[in-house]
């Protein structure tokens, strides 16, 4: 059993209800989608027990009804766990994971600026990547948002 399979196995044993949902598309890649309520426990386990010590980034996705959030975690042995959950668009609020990874801050700010996701527990700080003048309520990475390509510019 290689390293990826070992981790898959351990994860499946610990969260037997989710075992069938764990995918292994190839060597060194695992993917698991968990319901929002289960996310904190699985994330904690992946980081603390399975030793996924590096957060690569967090990807936000605009999907029908929900925002998908993928937390891409990497292990020292090269295995990447793509841990995904989703949050209802009507109240897109998640908790910060900066207590695990201080570096998550900037990826969470991207979710705030580009999708309009609310991240609880994020300390006050500069927004990223949009300007302060960017109009409230405009989230560029949402699928229904389009910049007007016919904008006329004045110098």
């Amino acid at each position: 059993m290689n390293a990826t399979e070992k981790i898959k196995d351990t994860l499946a044993k610990r969260f037997s209800a989710l075992a069938d949902a764990i995918q292994m598309p190839r060597e060194r890649r695992l993917a698991l989608t968990v319901p929002f309520a289960d996310f904190p426990a699985v994330f904690d386990y992946a980081v603390k027990e399975l030793k996924f010590s590096h957060l690569i980034t967090i990807t936000g996705l605009d999907e029908p009804e929900v925002f998908g959030l993928i937390y891409h975690l990497a292990h020292d042995n090269g295995v990447v766990l793509n841990l995904r959950t989703s949050v209802d668009k009507k109240n897109p609020t998640v908790k910060t994971v900066t207590s695990y990874f201080p570096g998550a801050e900037i990826y969470e700010r991207e979710l705030v600026d580009l999708f309009g996701v609310k991240v609880e527990g994020l300390q006050a700080g500069n927004r990223y990547p949009l300007t302060d003048e960017w109009p409230v309520g405009e989230y560029p990475l949402r699928k229904d948002w389009k910049a007007d390509k016919q904008e006329k510019h004045h110098a």
Binding site: P129, L130, T131, E133, W134, P140, A147, K149, H153, A155
Partner: protein, 143 residues
């Protein structure tokens, strides 16, 4: 090389001081601008000197498409330069937005914000093209 034969003419023109400013570029043009100043290309032999502050610069050499973040700073820098002053757009992005045209945070080329005197295309513009462009600009100033 035609550029070298023109050096004698340049000696008669006041040596311009240039300020290099990146308005959201990917850095490819920036490193070619700096390469133009290193011994192999040596833009300085044409009397061009890189200056650090707008108040001392005659020519503003810009790389990159203008992002919304940088626009006000770009304008401010131009305002701080004493006349006569000229703007050179280095690279396809500075000339007209390049591959980034249509991106929501990009206004377009430098001429969306400032009057441009010379356009040096290329992705990135090579050091030779940069030298050629600056020399052409100096040529036109002479007239």
């Amino acid at each position: 090389m035609s550029i070298i034969t023109r050096t004698v003419t340049w000696a008669r023109i006041k040596s311009p001081w240039i300020l290099h400013f990146n308005t959201g570029a990917c850095n490819a043009c920036d490193i070619e601008i700096i390469a133009a100043l290193t011994p192999r290309y040596d833009l300085e032999r044409f009397g061009v000197q890189l200056k650090a502050t707008p108040r001392h610069a005659d020519i503003l050499v810009c790389s990159g498409p203008v992002t919304r973040q940088i626009e006000s700073r770009l304008k401010r820098i131009y305002e701080q330069m004493a006349s006569p002053k000229f703007v050179v757009a280095v690279g396809t992005c500075a000339c007209g937005g390049g591959v980034f045209n249509g991106c929501y945070n990009v206004k377009g080329g430098i001429d969306q914000v400032l009057p441009v005197s010379a356009y040096i295309p290329g992705c990135p513009a090579s050091p030779k093209a940069i030298m050629d462009g600056v020399v052409k600009l100096l040529n036109s100033l002479k007239e």
